[in-house]
Subunit: 364 residues, 2 copies
DNA sequence: CTGTTAGCGCTTTCAT
DNA sequence: ATGAAAGCGCTAACAG
């Protein structure tokens, strides 16, 4: 089959593939698979095969095709591939915040697995807002992701309905819900909160306060607070020593503002459970400014093993969770589920609950 | 007009739209625009219009269509829309790291503008690797983004070629390149580095060291270092006091490890320029552990106005750049460029250079 | 190993 | 305000 046109490659020329359309559209794209096929003297199908695998076409055909691809600068059009193959190559991942180092590590863990699997992540941050989660889900589902990974287990009814209808694997992370939507990779924040209080108790503290953000929007922080409350009650320690400030997530500012309030309201406080290391660091720094020695006068325990707590002076005792593993395992679960689906097999719901550990350092 | 078929909606039933295909494909999708059209007693085109705008169809038609959409849980297929309209609705944004709060803020700034404009961001982190930037660009371009936003001005030749061929608006951020690929929204890291050294000099310091990461991979950090060197030379201060440790980005660990080396090698050092606040905080904390008072014995200046520097004790003097504005302006530039293109107008290359300021605090 | 045919679900264009 | 026809660039399925 002879090549149409001359041997030269028109770069960016829009007319290359334009045939006589009786009722044409705007304008043809630049170089398409057709173009490459024609120039290589093969069919589009062969180009498609050459581009994808090794053994699908003969070595020499493949090389010829790749040569033309190189010359023309052809870039396959994923939107057409997606449309034809009905596989988007996307997975959607939502986190409350992309910046928070815990979630960032989780996303990094996912990214490693998905890169490997040739899946591209569609990242969204919900800003700790269920309403935003819902609208992100709506937007992302239009892209036909092959799976969706959520942070947490609380979603709006509309979100849940969309997720169900989408009929794709769902993974909820960072919590341990009793009635999950799909797979789960997480841990019990409540237990973590309880453990924080109990740890301070073991270290001899008896008047233990809690610092967090306005709890209702940060579900996981709220759970930790609930765990703290439960433990405090069980241990028979004075209750109600809670200062919640500002919108989630809790920041260093939260801790900094909350600390003086704690000391004013309950001057005999000798231990503080902070919803995260960021708040803990804010509180610790404020202690230093106020001349309140930590841990001598107040012990402080944080959550999340953030970089700041590992490096500040004194270093912050904290609860460590393997955030990256959460992401990795969640992503592996997705890949498994997709493979099972490919083979037409069902896959049981997975529930992976991780351990967390107290990392004893210098503030408690 | 009565609805065709029964009143019940088949959820996820694959046979709804399936016609007698002589050589069928796998299986039809769930609810498509056709399905909705049929149930609403209109054409697909009308559904398409109803879904997009207000004034395109009559109010009652629109409501009927939306009602069916609600009942069926129809989710438009973006891949088909993209394919037909030749507009992906994507913009690609690459940053060295998503976690770094500077870049995270820039991405947040972009996100605000793009959300508004109905554009979805395809986020990628290059991990400070040009090679990874290149492969991300290759991957992203397959999705036909309408524009691409890069961090920095150094790219591989292959990356540059792909970008040129893509013929989409390009914005480079966080630097002030003399030969940009497209639009620029940034500032001079070199000047920032010089300013850091000069500031310490104005504060009476005369033996000023620099702490950073292994510089070659972090272009912007390297530029700041170069600026520091230049200023030191101009001021006639002792040169060569540079400790570069580890892979970029510079972290608290970098600062923590570098500080004792600085003090060992040049014990009379009285000021330290740190490539970022993270390194500055690491160094500051190490000072505290070693009993080296800051700023009395060593002044410290960081870069980036990170949260930690605003809250630690003493608070870190730093250089502030409006990271979010970088993102916002970059995104606005993209939107403008896209609108210009829509109208068939050309758009001049934009070059927006931001100011930075020394934020005087307690460490210098 | 390679080609042909049909069609993915939507929007463009033109017609009414 | 609505509809009909055509087709976007690619791949599934089948044929050779």
């Amino acid at each position: 089959m002879p090549l149409r046109g001359s041997g030269s490659i028109a770069m960016g020329g829009p007319k290359l593939t334009k045939s006589e359309a009786p009722r044409g559209r705007k304008e043809a794209a630049g170089v398409t698979m057709q173009t490459v096929a024609r120039l290589a003297g093969v069919s589009a199908m062969t180009v498609s095969r050459a581009l994808r695998g090794e053994g699908l076409v003969s070595r020499e055909t493949r090389e010829r095709v790749l040569e033309v691809v190189r010359e023309t600068g052809y870039v396959p059009d994923a939107s057409a591939r997606v449309f034809a193959s009905r596989r988007s190559g996307f997975v959607a991942a939502l986190a409350p915040s992309l910046n928070n180092s815990n979630f960032a590590e989780t996303l990094r863990g996912m990214s490693g697995v998905f890169d490997e699997a040739g899946l591209q992540m569609l990242l969204g941050d919900t800003q700790y807002l269920l309403s935003r989660e819902e609208s992100l889900i709506a937007t992302f589902l239009q892209r036909r992701p092959e799976a969706i990974l959520l942070t947490g287990s609380v979603h709006t009814p509309a979100a849940k309905q969309m997720l169900k209808r989408a009929e794709i694997p769902i993974v909820e992370t960072w919590e341990a819900p009793s009635r999950p939507l799909g797979h789960v990779v997480g841990f019990s924040n409540k237990k973590a909160g309880a453990e924080m209080a109990r740890y301070l108790h073991r270290r001899g503290r008896r008047r233990i306060a809690f610092i967090g953000s306005a709890a209702d929007r940060d579900r996981r922080g709220f759970e930790r607070q609930a765990g703290y409350c439960e433990a405090i009650a069980e241990l028979g320690l004075p209750e109600g020593r809670i200062v919640s400030i500002g919108a989630p997530p809790a920041t260093m500012a939260t801790g900094g503002e909350a600390l003086p309030r704690v000391l004013e309201q309950w001057p005999d406080t000798d231990g503080i459970v902070c919803v995260s290391d960021l708040a803990a660091f804010g509180a610790l720094s404020e202690c230093q400014r106020l001349g309140v020695p930590a841990p001598d006068r107040v012990a402080i325990i944080g959550f999340g093993d953030f970089e700041v707590g590992r490096h500040c002076c004194p270093r912050i005792t904290t609860i460590g969770v393997d955030s990256e593993a959460i992401g990795r395992i969640a992503a592996e679960t997705v890949v498994e589920a997709l493979e099972a689906r490919e083979r037409g097999e069902p896959m049981a719901r997975k529930r992976h609950i991780l351990e967390f550990t107290v990392i004893e350092r210098e503030t408690a």
